[in-house]
Structure formats: C-alpha cells, structure tokens
C-alpha cells in the first residue's frame, strides 16, 4: 500500500501516467447496454483486458472501474445489493491487471445528485455516501483515491471529507470539470477550486473531462498558476461528435500526444486521458513524456471565496457588518423563524456597494439551533453571495456552517487562549480558510507592545499546527471612545503587528459606539489605521463617506490605479506582432481618413514594420514572430499599394536573391526575403537552382544595391564563387552577401564576397548598414 510521503517522493522525480477512458472503451468493445461498473461482476475479463492494455501501454496508475459504483447511483440502476461486491471486485481486477507494475487508485465520482442548494441531498448524507464507498475500496487494498469529473465544488468537498474519514494516510487526487470559460457547471471558477482545495487535505489537484487537450490547456494553465500542490490532468479525446445516435470522440492518439508537452511545461505531474481515450492514446502519452516534472513555485496571493466570487485580501478587504441582528428585535425574530429574506437583502445590498465579504453574526445563538446556521449558509450560497466571515461563537454551530460552505471562509474570531485557539485551528485545518485572532488571551492588555508580545508569544504554537502566517489575520482590538479608551493604542498595535508581517483587521464600529456623527469618527480612524498598515476592517460598506475615505486612502497609497485615457503609442506594432490582421486594418483605415495612402504606407505601416525589423535584429523577438508580422501586414500593404500611383512607390533599396544552381532547397533564402521585405527592402527573388548566367542577367537588368546568394550543400557552394568571378569579369558593381547551410565566413572571404550572414537576422543587419552608408 502506498503512503502519501512515498507518493510525493515519486511525483517529485517522475511524471506519472494515468490510464484512459473506461465507459467509452467498453462501448467500443460492445458492452453498451450494461452499466460499466456491473462489468466487474458480470464480465470481469472485459475490465481485466482493458486494464491490462493500459498497463502495457505504460500507465503508472490504474483506476478501479468504480466511477459510478457509489450506493446511490447503483440504487438508481437497481443494483444496490451489488454495491460491496462491485467495489471489492473492481480492486481485485485492477490489482491483477496491474501485475505490480501500476498503482491502483480507487475511483469515485458524482452521486448523481448535488448537495444543497444545487440539489436536494443533505451534505452529511453526501459525505456518508462517499465514506461508504471509500471504506470498501480502502479495505480492498487500493493505493490511493481519485475523485473525478466533479462539477459541484460542494459535492467534491463531501467526497474529500468522506474519504478522509476512512483514511488520512493514502494519497488523494481531487479533480473538477470545467467548461472552456474555466467555470464549472455550478459556477465555480478554476481559481476558486484551487483556492479552496489548497487548504484541504488532498495531495493532487487536477481537471478532467468535457474538453479536449487543446481547449483544456488554457483552463489547466489557470489551475497551474493558482496552486503549489501537485497537478494532474485527463483531457477527453477531443470534442465529442454526436450523429444523432452515437457519441464519439475522434481525436487520434497522435494529435492528443501533440499537446502532452504543453502540459509538462505547465508543471503537470500526472497525465492521462478521459472520455474517448484508449490504450493507444496512453501509449502515445507515455512516448511523449520524456522529462522529469517541472517544479514551478508560484506566489499565490491571499484570497477567500464563496462558490462564485473570489477576492484578494490585499490591498484592503472590506467585510460588511450588516448581517447582525443585535438590537433589532424584528430581524432577530425573522431569523428565529427561518425567514432569511432580510439576510439575503442585506447581503445583496452590501455586494452592490462593493463590500468584499460579509460578516455573518446571528447574535442570538442561545435561541437558535444547528439548522438555522445550516440553512442560512445554504440560502446565501443559493443567492451567489459574497464570501463569508463566520462570526459564530458556538463551536458546534460554527462547524455546521463551515461544513455547508462551498468556498474559502474567513473565521472571525479566536482568542489566543489555548482552548479557543485549538478548537479554531482544528476547524481551519479541516475546512480551510483564514482565521482572525484577537490580540487577547483573557483580559484586554493595556499597551500596544503588550498586545504585540502576546501575539508573538503565541505565534510559534500556531505555526507548529501547520498554519502559515498568510492564513492568520490579527485583530488589534478597537474599544469604545465613549468609555474613555485611547484609540492610539489600537493604532500603535496595528503598526507593530504590520511591522512584524501580520495582516490585520478590526471591528471599526466599536470605536464610535454611543457617539453622534459616527461616520466621521470612523472614517478618520480608518484613515489613520490604514496609514499604520491596516489590511482589512469589518465596517458598514453602505456608509458612503466611509467607503470614499477608504478609497481615497487606497488611491494615495497607490493601491488603486486611475484609468489612463492616453492610448498606447505603439498599438499598431503590438497588433501586428499579435497577428491581428483585422485590428491592423482598422487602425490603417482610421489613418487613411487623415493621411494619404503613401504617407500611411511609409510613415505608419512602414515605420511599424521597421520597428519590428529592429526588434528582430536586436534579438527582442524571434524569427517566427517576425514572419507572422510580415504575413499579417502583407495584405494591408497590397491594399495600400493599390491606392498609391506606381511613380510614388519608394523602397529603401533593391536586393536580388537567389539560391544557386544545384540547390533545390530554398527555405532559408525565402526567410531572408521575408525579413528584408519587412524592413522595406525591394526584393527580386530569382528562386532556387538558379544558373549563374541567369543571376548575372538579372543583376545587369535590375541593377540592385545588393545581391544575396544562398548555397545549401558543400557540393554547390562553389557556384557562389562562380557568380562572384563572373561579376568581377564583367565589372558589375554590386555588394554580394552569401549565406546558407554549407557557407561560412572564411569561404565567403575566399570567394570574394563582401559579407557572410549566418542567418536572416545578420543578413538584415548587414543590408541595413550598407543602405545607411549609401544614404
């Protein structure tokens, strides 16, 4: 049996190959009518054969044929009584097929019904379903687990909680499925998935299904940038083709394999195939994996989320305080009676004034029960609310709420006493998120220095529990001015905490409790606290004066950028480099309203291309980019040239190019022609395998400034010398530049050429220098 540490060690050294599709393969093999998982007990040899083929093709991990073998789905198929047998047998078959050459991972997927609010399933019920299947797979001896093709983040969480109830020792891979826009069917983005699961007890994050390798690449890139966990991916064999009867995936193994390296570049650790992929696909994937994993360590900002909204903690997080019925009897009664209309209204109005999170503090906890906390989270989730800061005192209620929450929460708050801290740390370890800690153990300390020292004293203990500093926010404590407290102690605490690298937040309204003109006081204090380094506050976001003051501070701190109305100077150059022909045409047509076609051609498009030529000559862009630029502007130059009378056309200099006699390869010469054209040279291209006499005739007729000769083979380079000698004999004055695979500087000198260019870039530099000398 594999343990997590060993698995991590393997992944650090080697890219592992997962197997391919199961359902689609069984259909191809004629088992369309029978549910795939039932094959484990009816036709185990069919499963065995496919898995053996996957191992033979090079799969390092075999998945058990248990994708839909949870009790709930089997019940729907009228196979509930076979639940245990199907799962036990699946592990047995996979182990036999692996022959000790591949790991066997228990495969779990959707229950067929989402947990609340997307479906009707209770979260505890969902967790239990996964627990039951994971238990059978675990007891049958799997090496690890994978949860895949999950479209609902809450259901994926249920699966993880269920599996981790069975074992904390086995590796666990968590996959979600996304559409091309990087969102799951139930609205969660790739970044939210990563942000939530970065905290949870899983070893590998990944994506599978729905998209082929090409479309999935961009989505996968977003995942790769959002996590430092190991990464896995299983694309489909392209887009499905449905002819009205059959669903088919037609991407060949080779085209699939073409994208494997792109995933390796993004740091993938495990790669396999989903729907439509076959043992042949796996064989090609195996063949395309030729290197060790690329470890990319990403700086991931501190973020928190709901199901659909992800916010960065910095530069400043506004936590809306308005879901708090303290002092409002009517609001209290509504909550007690499960009427959450006002809660939703307040959540929405705070969202509309750009709060980043909402603090949920139901106050009257003594008269509420678990169901209240469960329902309120489900209701807020249903209405796509902002991320939540959980201000819940009763630890049981808090856990109930966290279990229901689909995003990455903020937990507000914990005292620094061991008992409170232990319980809260345990919760954020299990459910993820950020924890607000109060600079307080039992009593409120007098000075800022004492508060800091308390935090510093407690910090090693928090760290020893595996919690990093970026998951802790310290509340320096704000006390009421009306009770004669010194606000400077709080400000000084913020300063000291910030200097020690802690993020901070505060309940701002406490300051002015019981005073008139509260918003002025709060705003002034917030300004000062922001100046001392405050990174968040719980406040009333509907207080316009307060929010404007905050935004003013952010602006002064350069945390907000004022949108510039100045257009980019070189938009045209950029659009050309991006190959956006339509955009280039649009810019040129706008220019034609004010300038003549000749001016646009020379001063606008010509200058842009010259700039691109310079970028290339200086090594700032690569040859394919230059060629793309040249292809992009070609039709636009043609368009402009049609508008310009022939007599007005004026090129920089004339160059005759030829690949000498005997050479039938002329791609190098063609590239030189394209590069020189881009820099506004007039090119006369004589082609390949050109006889000496033809070249001489062309030079006599065209009278070019430069003659470029290319030779590929050692057996043909002598032709360059022949051309040069002939030119000398006839006293024809033209600068000769030689290049090509078999040419070198010494040969060019010996032959009497004026220059040798090792590539198109050098050719361009030389031609430009000659033209400048002449002008």
């Amino acid at each position: 049996m594999m343990n997590r540490k060993d698995f991590a060690q393997i992944l650090n050294k080697k890219i592992l190959i997962l197997d391919g599709g199961y359902g689609t393969e069984f259909i191809k093999r004629g088992y369309k009518e029978i549910p795939a998982e039932i094959l484990n007990i009816r036709y185990p040899e069919v499963v065995y054969n496919l898995q053996s083929e996957y191992v033979k093709s090079g799969a390092d991990i075999l998945l058990t044929n248990t994708f839909s073998a949870n009790r709930k789905k089997l019940k729907e198929l009228n196979y509930e009584e076979a639940f245990e047998k199907v799962n036990v047998k699946a592990v047995e078959i996979a182990k036999q097929a692996s022959k000790g050459k591949a790991l066997v991972f228990g495969d779990l997927s959707s229950l067929g019904e989402y947990p609340n609010p997307m479906g009707l399933l209770e979260m505890d019920e969902a967790i239990d379903e996964y627990y039951q299947q994971a238990k059978v797979l675990f007891e049958s001896g799997v090496d690890g687990f994978i949860v895949e093709t999950m479209t609902d983040i809450k259901e994926l969480k249920a699966a993880i909680y269920g599996i981790r109830k069975v074992t904390e020792d086995l590796p666990l891979i968590a996959h979600m499925t996304f559409e091309e826009n990087g969102r799951s069917v139930t609205g969660t983005s790739v970044e939210i998935f990563a942000n939530v699961f970065n905290d949870l007890d899983v070893d590998v994050l990944g994506i599978n299904c729905t998209l082929g390798p090409e479309e999935l690449l961009k989505v996968f890139e977003r995942l790769s940038l959002s996590t430092n966990k190991f990464l896995s991916v299983e694309p489909n064999a392209g887009k499905p083709v449905f002819d009205g009867k059959h669903l088919e995936y037609k991407m060949t193994p080779e085209i699939f394999g073409m994208f494997v390296e792109d995933y390796l570049d993004l740091g993938v650790n495990i790669i396999g195939g989903c729907c439509g992929t076959s043992p042949e696909h796996i064989k090609v994937i195996r063949n395309m994996v030729k290197r060790r994993p690329k470890k990319i360590v990403k700086e991931i900002p501190i973020m928190y989320s709901s199901r659909t909204i992800l916010n960065k903690f910095h530069p400043f997080t506004v936590i809306g305080e308005r879901i708090n019925p303290a002092g409002n009897k009517k609001f209290q009664n509504e909550i007690e009676e499960f009427n959450f209309e006002n809660v939703i209204k307040r959540a929405n109005s705070q969202k509309s004034v750009k709060a980043h999170a909402i603090d949920v503090n139901l106050g009257i906890e003594k008269i509420l029960n678990e169901e209240h906390f469960k329902q309120i989270i489900i209701e807020l989730d249903k209405h796509s609310s902002l991320p939540i800061s959980f201000d819940i005192q009763n630890i049981g209620f808090l856990e109930t709420a966290l279990k229901e929450y689909p995003g990455r929460p903020i937990i507000n708050s914990s005292k620094l006493s061991k008992k409170d801290l232990d319980r809260k740390l345990e919760l954020i370890k299990k459910y993820g998120g950020l924890l607000i800690v109060l600079a307080l153990e039992k009593e409120i300390l007098e000075s800022a220095e004492e508060r800091l020292q308390l935090v510093l004293r407690k910090w090693p203990y928090i760290e020893s529990k595996g919690i990093t500093k970026d998951r802790i926010i310290v509340d320096p404590l704000v006390l009421s001015l009306a009770a004669n407290n010194d606000p400077n102690i709080t400000l000084e605490t913020v300063k000291l905490l910030s200097q020690n690298g802690f993020n901070t937040t505060m309940g701002l309204s406490n300051l002015s409790f019981g005073l008139p003109n509260r918003n002025y006081i709060n705003a002034a204090f917030l300004s000062r606290a922001k100046g001392k380094g405050l990174t968040s506050a719980i406040l009333n976001p509907e207080d316009e004066f307060l929010m404007n003051t905050l935004n003013g501070n952010l602006l002064l701190d350069k945390n907000i950028v004022i949108p510039s109305k100045v257009e980019k100077q070189d938009e045209l150059t950029e659009k050309i480099l991006q190959g956006e022909e339509g955009e280039v045409k649009r810019i040129i047509e706008n220019q034609l309203k004010e300038k003549s076609p000749l001016e646009v051609s020379q001063d606008v498009l010509g200058k842009a291309m010259e700039k691109i030529g310079d970028l290339y000559a200086q090594g700032n862009i690569y040859l394919p980019e230059l060629l793309l630029a040249a292809e992009t502007v070609k039709p636009i130059f043609d368009y402009l040239n049609n508008l310009i009378p022939e007599s007005q056309n004026d090129k920089k200099a004339k160059v005759v190019l030829a690949t000498v006699e005997g050479d039938i390869h002329d791609i190098g010469k063609n590239i030189v022609a394209a590069v020189l054209r881009s820099a506004n040279f007039k090119i006369i291209d004589l082609g390949k395998d050109v006889e000496t006499s033809t070249i001489i005739n062309a030079v006599q007729k065209e009278k070019p400034n430069i003659l470029g000769l290319s030779a590929m083979m050692t057996t043909t380079v002598g032709k360059i010398e022949e051309v040069v000698n002939e030119l000398k004999k006839l006293s024809i004055k033209v600068k000769v530049i030689a290049g090509g695979a078999s040419m070198n500087r010494k040969l060019a000198e010996t032959f009497g050429c004026d220059a040798y260019a090792k590539d198109a870039s050098e050719g361009l530099k030389i031609c430009k220098s000659w033209v400048n000398l002449n002008s």
Binding site: P253, M258, L577, H665
Partner: protein
C-alpha cells in the same frame, strides 16, 4: 516492383487524407525477396516521428524562454505540427552488411573495428515537400523546422530498435560529415539498399524528398 511494396506505397500515398489511426500504420517490417534482392521496408507508428515540441520550437528559432509566444503563433505552431502528422508518409529501408562485403569508400574511419554496418534511408515523403514549397513563408518555415525534427525523431526510433537487436555500436553517421562525401548517398541508396523510396542526385548528393536521410551504424558484436 513486388506487389506488396507497390501496395505499401499506395497506402503511404493515401495517408495525406488524414486517417492517422488506420491499421496500416501499425508497426511492421516487410521483407521481400525478389531474386537476389532483399528489401526491408519499415513503416513506423506515427508517434515515432513526433518530435518534442520544445525541440521543434528551438529549430524554428525560439532559442530560449525569454518571451511568451503569442496565441496566434501558438495556433500556427500547433496547426503545422498537426498538418505535419497528416502529411508525413514516413518509411525507411534498412539493411545490414558484413564489413567485408561493403566497399571501403563507404566505411568511415571512425568505424574501425566494426564487424557489420546497418545502412538505412528514411524519409517523410513528398507531401511535406509540396507543402513547404507552396505555403507562405511562416508556415513553410515552421513545417521545415517540424519536419527536420520529425525525421530526427524517426531516426532516433530506428536507432533505438537497431541497438536493441545489435548491441554495441558506433554513433549514427551520415555521409557529408567527416570523411564520407555527401555524394556517397547515391551509392548507398542505389547500389546497396537498392530502394526507390528516395531519389539521390548523383552529382550533388541531394536527396528528394527533402526530408530524407541516409544513415549508418557500425556494430562491434558478432
């Protein structure tokens, strides 16, 4: 030409129509004995000619990781890779000769001590050439780069298989390097391997289709 060889060529000719996974692409050697002639034609699995993208890009001029490749160019790069796989008609002819039966002018000095030499000619076929000659400069340059690396990947694959069979050998060698003139390509293809899968210009040593190579590896073991 033997009927089976004709069929092979014919099938190779159909490959440009995009059917990459057909049965005829499965790996096989065909041995044909016609009188004293003995020909081995090898048609690889397509993945054997798939170059690493990094190497393809390097050949195309992206020498380093200094810049991000823009989307349009990425699209073009992938398009050419895919097209290359569709257009390529890879095949190789390969045979091994005892050292004493090989003309001395075909044996490089560095092969001293070998007991036998395997000669092979490999090609990606004419469709790739046609594309390079007729496409715009960017596409043909990318295809040229892709095909150069594809033929190299193909040769690597043959090389690996041969070494598995023959054991200790020399480095892979091609005429035009060191002491064997490039024009010896003609002798190897026409006199030794006696194959028509490529054509060599006797005067220049140039092979057509363009993406073709002549290689040799010497073996030390009996």
């Amino acid at each position: 030409m033997d009927e089976r060889v004709k069929n092979l060529f014919l099938m190779g000719g159909l490959r440009g129509e995009g059917a990459l996974s057909c049965d005829f692409l499965k790996m096989f050697f065909i041995e044909i004995t016609g009188g004293e002639n003995f020909i081995k034609i090898y048609i690889p699995e397509i993945y054997e000619i798939m170059p690493q993208k990094k190497i393809y890009l390097l050949r195309a001029g992206f020498n380093g990781t200094k810049f991000q490749i823009n989307d349009k160019l990425k699209e073009e790069i992938n398009k050419i890779y895919k097209l290359g796989l569709e257009l390529a008609q890879p095949k190789a002819v390969c045979d091994t000769y005892k050292i004493e039966t090989i003309p001395t002018e075909l044996i490089p000095k560095s092969f001293e001590g070998v007991n036998s030499i395997t000669f092979f000619v490999s090609t990606l076929g004419y469709e790739i050439d046609n594309y390079i000659s007729n496409a715009n400069t960017l596409s043909s340059m990318l295809m040229d780069a892709w095909a150069s690396e594809a033929i190299e990947a193909f040769n690597e694959s043959i090389d690996k298989k041969l070494r598995k069979d023959f054991g200790k050998g020399t480095r892979r060698f091609s005429p035009g390097y060191s002491d064997i003139d490039v024009r010896k390509n003609w002798d190897i293809v026409s006199n030794l391997l006696k194959t028509e899968i490529v054509v060599v210009n006797k005067e220049t040593g140039i092979i057509t289709p363009r993406k073709s190579t002549v290689c040799m590896i010497g073996w030390y073991d009996e």
